[in-house]
Amino acid sequence: MIKVTKDVIDTCAKSLMFRLSPGQDDLIYEEFNTVLAQIDFLKSIKGVDEADPMTFPYSEHQKILREDKPSKPIDVAVALKNSNTKLGNNVKLPKVVGNANDEVDE
């Protein structure tokens, strides 16, 4: 398992695409001491590592072939209604192609 450091915490935050407020990394670091102690406790429970991981309470999956009926997709205007940055029928973003550090064409 990766050792918890403030750099690791910062990397997680970056990959989650947000910045932490000042002091929050300290608080998370402190919380990790508790989390990892509790993971050790789970590890100590007899039979835990032989158990099958439980993803859902039970399977209620059904095998149903849906009718092959065409359905109407949502209207473009409806799809765009909640976006703050639009251009024509598209969501407008600052730059989507190339590297993040490339010069931006305005």
Binding site: M1, I2, V4, V8, I9, C12, A13, S15, L16, M17, F18, R19, L20, S21, Q24, L27, I28, E30, E31, F32, T34, V35, Q38, I39, F41, L42, K43, I45, G47, V48, D49, A51, D52, P53, M54, T55, F56, P57, Y58, E60, H61, Q62, R66, I74, V78, K81, N82, S83, N84, T85, V91, L93, P94, K95, V96, A100, V104
Partner: protein, 485 residues
Amino acid sequence: MTKWMNKSIAELHAALVKKEVTSLELVEDAISGVQGDTCNSFEALCFEEARKEAGKITEVKEEEYLKGIPYVAKDNFSTAGIETTASSKILEGYVPFFDATVVSKLRRAGMILIGKSTMDELAMGGTGTTGHKGNTLNPYNPERIIGGSSCGSAAAVSQGIVPMALGSDTGDSVRKPASNAGLVGFKATWGRISRYGLFPFAPSLDAVGYFTRNVLDSAYVLSAIAGHDKNDMSSSSRKNEKYQNYVLQKKTLKKVGYFKAVMDSISNPRIKKAYLEVLDGLKKKGYEVLSYDYPVELLDALYPTYMIISCAESTSNNANLDGIKFGPAAKNSPRTWQEYMTEARTAGFTDLIKRRFVIGSFSLLSENQEEMFCRAQKARRLIVNELNKFFDQIDYLIVPAAYSIPKKISELSTKWSTKPDFLDNILTIGNFGGNPSLTLPLLFEEGMPIGLNITGRPFEDGYVFSLASAVEEITGLKGLVKEEK
């Protein structure tokens, strides 16, 4: 003017059938209640739409139990044309273009939505104090928490503003506030009610729930909203039932059980006395009451197992909150889409949510997944296996829903609990197993209500109502409303 909204659904239905009141009058009474709300219970309101819908109702038939009756939905249910924020800045301004299935079903049943209720941000909290509109207060004592995450829905029903409000329950988010507010709070069997249109928190645990002020009303509501939904692949296609018949016809099972470790750990003598009185009362009604030796180490595992699984699942589920398709625009002129998302998510989530996401993300890293997330899933398996052994022998698990009165808001901490008490986390067991589970009032302590919780086998929701109805007869606590004097 007659106050209607402090009555039960059954009473309101009877009055509508007899034309003693109109749906529009009920809606006006509910609006008046919203305007007098002292607990910060509401997000968006939809009074004009409600008046319009109510005005169309000229007749209510005997079998139309919910028709014409106002209700409130927690702000994590999608509602077409009504802002839906999950009490988070990241969703401010978001107006869904579709209704959650449960909202559609209630509309088809004739219930009238008057507004959305406050909640802990993105349902990730149990205090009612982390939403973007500030603290939601407990009508019994504003210094103490009402609990969460379905805080506004609990406060609205407890104040007699509406007789029913939708919530969602991932750990105990309906059943704990119900305990703190003197209500019936029900979480259906996982998959019994469609979750389409409910913002996911931790889908392996999430269930639709709701508040009422008595057990029979709760059963009527489930009859209207249960059932398969082609839009929710986790919803069950098992046959829907008339759940109210379990109460009206007293269709019940007979073996009630408690965990010995829980009984031995209750330190408040009045709570223990009230709990024992209920168990005695059930014996007198012909139930067999049995003790079960559920392993303490698995009870101690409830909190870390819940926290790891819920943080990991929520980290993944909230990745779509990017500020692009919906939500507030990023500020500071971002130059790339990465900067855009980072700006939106930095401003949109509070520190608490970010901390939970970081821990969830860390537990999902490929190097850590086996040690953290998978181990929590394995612990869940052991917890549920043992619960299933209990249910092989016993029909119902009955425990107090709380072991002290709610904490003061001023005493809260948002930090990860270093010494979790299994009594505080006992209700999560019903989410791990997907069981139906219901809280109802047990006693008053220092002027604050404290609830009792009943859990049954998956898909035996009806039997949970029937036992709860028997408990209601024993305690005599039903129809509680805390109105402003």
